[in-house]
């Protein structure tokens, strides 16, 4: 992939581009025709439209690519509007977008952009199919989030696309579920609880887990396998068993803390949930950190020791920076484990420690309401924003440091 072809030849218009685009058009034509129960007519219409589009856009070779694509999309949308109203516009725009993109992609020869010039057509075809497969998997990953976001604007209290929503009428939509989420203690308190519990639990599992992983990576550890099995066990015991088992342990522990240390009940409640979640996060930290340590060059610590660094300095200055990525990704898994955990907290926690997943769980069970979807949409948006910001900052710092992107 890294071997880019410097000069891409435009393929022959009539031998390649027109048939390809016509075939692509045929697929759309067939599907569209099928809606009106005339698949064959649609197929022929698609072939003709595809061929014409390929030739038409070839004439406009001088125009920038994006203008061709959006132009096609707009043209298709207008046709769609004539036949199918608002839905037709959307459908037409989408079909136009794909047709336009495909035509320019094929027509300009960009489809060979990612492969070395010596590839045979078969290899190019395989390469591009592979990309399509990947695109499909990414779509599969993201697809369920789309209806979530869409339905969160539902004006009704069900998880159902109403006819008003489908015809894009304003009365089918409302922000009431967002008001419900942002404006009520019912949701804000659980959110706050989750944001208290998850980071602290993560901190505990990461610090203890990292130490233990370093210990485990030493060359002579008696009973290494057994210890490893014990530390991994929270991941493999079915959660419902863990939940009840832990309940019986944490309840007397809580009583003891309250009676002997004079801690108040709410605080003890948090402690219990945090400890339970910390244990559940530990296997992830152990697995990731030991994995990073496997490739760790031990001569580095020896070199540091040779130069007079004490073990603590060695750890923080040499070892830690190198295994940090493993530690962080372990921490991420641990955080998600806590942030998305519902079974254990239902047992171990009490109403005051109600977390976001708990609230969602009772919400789903007792009263299905799109407020849950609004909550999810907000969380997803926040994480997109955060992830994008970080990526942008990273690129900026790379640019500042004069590193090439890549």
């Amino acid at each position: 992939m890294s071997v880019l072809n410097p000069s891409i030849k435009r393929p022959n218009l009539f031998k390649f581009t027109v048939p390809m685009v016509a075939a692509f058009g045929a697929i759309f034509g067939f599907i569209t025709g099928n809606i009106y129960h005339q698949p064959l007519i649609g197929l022929f219409a698609g072939v003709i439209v595809g061929a014409l589009l390929a030739m038409g856009l070839d004439r406009l070779a001088a125009l920038p690519r994006w203008q061709k694509i959006w132009g096609t999309s707009a043209a298709f949308a207008v046709v769609g509007a004539i036949f199918g109203g608002v839905g037709g516009i959307v459908g037409g725009a989408v079909v136009g977008l794909s047709m336009g993109w495909f035509t320019t992609w094929i027509g300009s020869g960009r489809y060979r952009a990612g492969v070395p010039s010596y590839y045979t057509p078969g290899q190019v075809l395989w390469h591009n199919s592979f990309l399509f497969i990947c695109a499909f998997v990414f779509f599969f990953l993201i697809a369920p989030l789309l209806p979530v976001a869409w339905l969160s604007f539902n004006a009704e209290d069900f998880f159902t696309f109403t006819p008003e929503m489908l015809s894009f009428k304003a009365e089918g939509y409302s922000l009431k579920h967002y008001y419900d989420f942002l404006g009520s203690d019912e949701w804000m308190v659980p959110l706050k609880n989750s944001l208290i519990i998850a980071p602290i639990a993560t901190l505990i599992s990461v610090s203890l887990g990292t130490l233990a992983a370093i210990g485990l990576s030493q060359s002579h550890v008696p009973g290494r396998q057994a210890i490893m099995a014990v530390l991994i066990s929270p991941m493999i015991v079915p959660l419902i068993i863990s939940a009840t088992g832990m309940f019986f342990f944490y309840a007397p522990l809580g009583n003891w803390l309250q009676a002997n240390l004079g801690l108040n009940q709410a605080f003890v409640g948090y402690v219990k949930v945090i400890l339970a979640h910390a244990v559940l996060g530990i296997p992830f930290v152990i697995i990731t950190v030991t994995a990073t340590l496997v490739g760790f060059d031990r001569s580095l610590t020896r070199a540091a020791a040779n130069m007079g660094a004490d073990p603590v300095t060695t750890f923080f200055r040499i070892q830690m920076p190198l295994i940090l990525p493993g530690v962080i990704s372990g921490g991420l898994f641990a955080f998600i484990t806590s942030f998305d955990e519902v079974v254990v907290v239902l047992f171990v926690g009490s109403a005051r420690q109600q977390t976001l997943p708990w609230q969602m769980f009772t919400g789903l069970r007792e009263q299905i309401s799109p407020t849950i979807l609004a909550a999810a949409t907000i969380l997803v948006t926040v994480s997109i924003l955060l992830l994008t910001t970080v990526e942008l900052l990273r690129r900026r710092s790379e640019r500042l440091r004069g590193m090439s992107p890549g």
Binding site: W126, P144, L216, V230, G245, T290, P325, V380, S383
Partner: protein, 554 residues
């Protein structure tokens, strides 16, 4: 090396090198253990011990002997093959055991426990529990008619208390403690008289039980309370014995007159026949089925739950298969394993190309695409599952689109959920990031030059991939698979929501027994079996791939 035999090699500090090395090794080991210790202790205490104690419930069965201690002993001599219910002796013990249990409200727990093994026992215990007072009142009323003193709590206290009966008191207290699970410690203000314990054994024992319960649980003063009906029943039972009658004739301590009156008017008391009384309360007591179930499950530990968990049952005739219409667990275990396997396979198929793409794209593009992998990860499992419900149901998005496009008739919408398909699709989606991330981190370490080298040496694309690249990515597949498989096997919320009846896992049954049927013993047995399966897989994985090769992103 030959001269080392004469003079050991010395380390810098003058010690023999061997010794010095051994010491260093020991210190190294110690340091490693010191690093591991905090976490190990933490996990041991906060997880392993609670889990083991939970799993211990799968064999624990002390409830029968704790609730009916004397009955269980008496029942040992009974032979279920005679076809006759046990004799009066067993019923007599049953009465006094059960009376105590019903005062402490433990008898219904026993009923529930035995009901797991034999339908209908729950109501036998509950119904009988309500009749126990009446059974005692049958004796209390005539006794009080014979001598008014029997009405007085203080009279009983004076008659039965004495010195030197600590042994009896403590043994009764121990039985109470076993029954209630509490210590029952404390000053009772009553010690049974050994003389009375000899003369009126049943009444004294019943009164001692009453005294302990009155003081410890109700926090009343013994002498001021009227005794339980069981004490009167005990006295009536004692009075049947000729030896007791002779001893009463010679007795002149407190309450002597009342006892003598009672002996003189013995004909006013109804016949003492606990067996008849129990059968009258609930006729099931006259059947052998009930008693043989009790006998089979009277030991403190049982394999019953485990047998139930594999569709077998423990009967007086030994271990038998359950009736076919009640066999569910083996099928569920098989289905769980099979579906977890399918889900793992689907994750490999979908995850491998994506991980390969991410590992081979320029950093900038890869990072952007990685957001797509991580987004679902940041979305609550519950939300994603409900989203799949919206997508997959018959009036859902996918079916709507297919119908709109004309590929599927409105009448023949596809059934994509409430079956195994739904579970597999939703869980593949949920677990896919757990496959992609480890695969990605392993593939990232495979130098692309290997592939190019293979190709330049004349390998086709396929050969280069299959013979060079793929073997190096196997640890990633292994790590992802074990992670996905183990997580899948224990899931229950997603199957519950989209799985219908044919797409649920064994965990759903475990959850059902924990929170709905309250059969925790069976839940623990099912959980233990599941855990053993996972541990065996984990062990096999460790042997084949090595757990060190597991990588989760990074």
């Amino acid at each position: 090396m030959s001269d080392t035999t004469q003079e050991p090699m010395l380390a810098a500090d003058g010690r023999p090198l061997k010794q010095s090395l051994a010491r260093a090794l020991r210190r190294q080991k110690l340091r490693a253990l010191m690093l591991i210790a905090p976490l190990l202790i933490f996990v041991m205490v906060t997880f392993i011990i609670p889990i083991l104690s939970m799993l211990f419930r799968s064999v624990e069965n002390e409830i029968v002997s704790n609730t009916l201690p004397h009955t269980v002993v008496a029942l040992q001599e009974w032979d279920s093959s005679t076809g006759e219910a046990p004799d009066e002796n067993v019923f007599r013990h049953l009465y006094f055991d059960l009376f105590k249990a019903s005062e402490a409200k433990e008898h219904t727990k026993l009923g529930t426990r035995l009901n797991y093994e034999r339908t209908g026992l729950s109501s036998v215990f509950r119904t009988t529990g309500r009749r126990l007072d009446d059974m005692g009142s049958d004796f209390q009323d005539p006794l009080e008619d014979i001598n008014e003193n029997f009405k007085e709590g203080a009279f009983w206290y004076e008659m039965l208390s004495g010195e030197g009966g600590e042994e009896l008191l403590e043994s009764r207290r121990a039985l109470w403690a076993r029954l209630t699970g509490e210590s029952m410690a404390g000053d009772i203000g009553f010690t049974p008289s050994p003389q009375m314990a000899d003369m009126l054994p049943w009444a004294t024992r019943a009164y001692t039980d009453f005294a302990i319960w009155t003081v410890i649980d109700d926090q009343d003063v013994v002498a001021e309370e009227d005794p339980w009906e069981a004490v009167y029943a005990g006295l009536a039972q004692d009075l049947q014995s000729e030896q007791t009658q002779t001893e009463i004739a010679a007795y002149d301590g407190p309450g002597a007159q009342a006892l003598k009156d009672a002996v003189a008017n013995l004909d006013q008391l109804p016949e003492v026949n606990f067996k008849a009384a129990f059968i009258d309360a609930k006729e099931d007591w006259g059947t052998t089925d009930l008693w043989s179930t009790m006998q089979v499950f009277s030991s403190n530990y049982t394999t019953g739950y485990f047998l139930n968990a594999v569709d077998l049952e423990l009967t007086p005739e030994g271990v038998q298969a359950k009736p076919e219409n009640q066999q569910i667990y083996m099928q569920l275990f098989m289905r769980t394993l099979w579906m977890a396997l399918v889900i793992t396979g689907a994750c490999i198929l979908l995850g491998y190309p994506v991980a390969w793409l991410l590992a081979n794209l320029p950093m900038r593009t890869a990072n952007t695409l990685m957001i797509l992998v991580l987004l679902p990860f940041w979305t609550s499992l519950l939300v994603r599952t409900s989203a799949w419900k919206v997508l997959l149901q018959q009036q859902g998005v996918i079916n709507d689109i297919l119908v709109w496009l004309g590929f599927v008739g409105d009448a023949n919408r596809l059934i994509l959920m409430n079956n195994a398909t739904g579970t597999i699709i939703a869980m593949t989606h949920i677990l896919l990031p757990f496959m992609i991330l480890p695969l990605y981190s392993v593939m990232k370490t495979i130098p692309p030059s290997y592939l190019r080298a293979a190709k330049s040496l004349g390998a086709t694309n396929w050969t280069a991939f299959w013979r060079v690249y793929f073997p190096q990515s196997v640890p990633g597949i292994g790590a992802g698979s074990i992670l996905v498989f183990i997580l899948a096997i224990g899931y229950y919320i997603t199957p519950e929501i989209v799985g219908g009846t044919s797409g649920i896992f064994i965990s759903n049954r475990i959850a059902y027994h924990i929170s709905s049927s309250l059969n925790w013993g069976l839940a623990a047995a099912l959980g233990t079996i599941l855990l053993v399966v996972v541990l065996v897989l984990y062990w096999a994985y460790d042997k084949i791939v090595g757990i060190d090769n597991v990588k989760l992103g990074g």
